[in-house]
């Protein structure tokens, strides 16, 4: 199993596109959430446009759900 260090170097080699390794924590019940999706979203401002992944052509949103209470959460991968 790769250690933290090798995961970090893999992330930098692929332009930061690989999954963030830290789990999202549910804001409702403090449990670790399950990441079930990555969704490409289009920018709606020039600041967001500057963060477009040049290979994928959009901004990647990670989507997580809480196994305990079902709450959904999301964050931008880049």
């Amino acid at each position: 199993m790769p250690g933290k260090k090798s995961q970090k170097s893999r992330a930098s080699k692929d332009g930061g596109r690989s999954q963030k390794t830290s789990k999202m924590i549910c804001t409702e019940c403090n449990q670790e959430m399950n990441q079930h999706a990555e969704k490409l979203v289009d920018p709606t401002s020039s600041e967001e446009a500057a963060r477009i992944d040049p290979v994928l052509g959009g901004i990647v949103a990670e989507v997580h759900a809480c196994p305990e209470c079902g709450h959904s959460g999301s964050r931008r991968a880049s």
Binding site: Q19, N34, Q35, H36, A37, E38, K39, V41, T44, A61, V63, A65, C66, P67, E68, C69, G70, H71, S72, S74
Partner: protein, 189 residues
């Protein structure tokens, strides 16, 4: 999430038009959902949402609507057919959220005065559902010639709609349960 936790399947009434017949279809589907054990439902009338039209997307997100979309396991969208498409304000409301919908089930109820039961509007809505991350089912409910299906106060005149709604909801609930299991337990590799 514990199996006992009820599914939440709200019904979105996709028009603000005065005198809209779609409200009868939406009320009927909501009451058919409410009769089922193990789930909660609610009719979300887009006419009751604060709906700025001088902006779009996440900028007009209504906190209450977004919380309901976050909590939802599936959606029923009641979509009247307007000029062979769906209503512009329905799209405006749906566009206000995105991540909230991902990997959740959606079933569409088409409503039209003409003979095709909103089918043309539904077909136009399908690619939008896909981009929003919603998972469509293969059953629709089609209220064609809707003025003959309900009386003036919303009473159902044609009981053949009940078994069709039943099939539609069974498939939607199966998809909602399956996707809830996936969201909560199956990690993206």
């Amino acid at each position: 999430m514990a199996e006992a936790c009820p599914l939440f399947i709200p019904v979105i009434l996709g028009t603000t038009r005065r005198g809209r017949m779609s409200i009868h279809a939406a009320s009927l589907v909501t009451s058919e959902l409410a009769r089922r054990a193990g789930l909660e439902t609610e009719l979300i009338d887009i006419a009751k949402l604060p709906l700025p039209t001088d902006d779009a997307g996440g900028a007009i997100k209504d906190k209450g609507f977004a919380e309901k979309m976050n909590r939802a396991d599936a959606l029923v969208i009641v979509s009247p057919e307007y000029n062979h498409g769906y209503s512009g304000l329905l799209k405006h409301v749906l566009d206000s959220c995105l991540e909230e919908y991902i990997h959740k089930a959606v079933g569409i109820v088409g409503v039209s005065a003409g003979p095709f039961g909103g089918t043309r509007g539904i077909q136009n809505l399908l690619p939008v559902m896909r981009e929003l991350g919603l998972v469509t089912i293969f059953w629709d409910v089609n209220f064609s010639s809707v003025q003959k299906v309900f009386d003036g106060s919303g009473g159902l005149l044609d009981s053949s709609f009940l078994p069709r709604i039943d099939k539609f909801l069974k498939e939607l609930i199966w998809m909602a349960k399956t996707l809830r299991h996936g969201r909560e337990n199956i990690a993206l590799e």
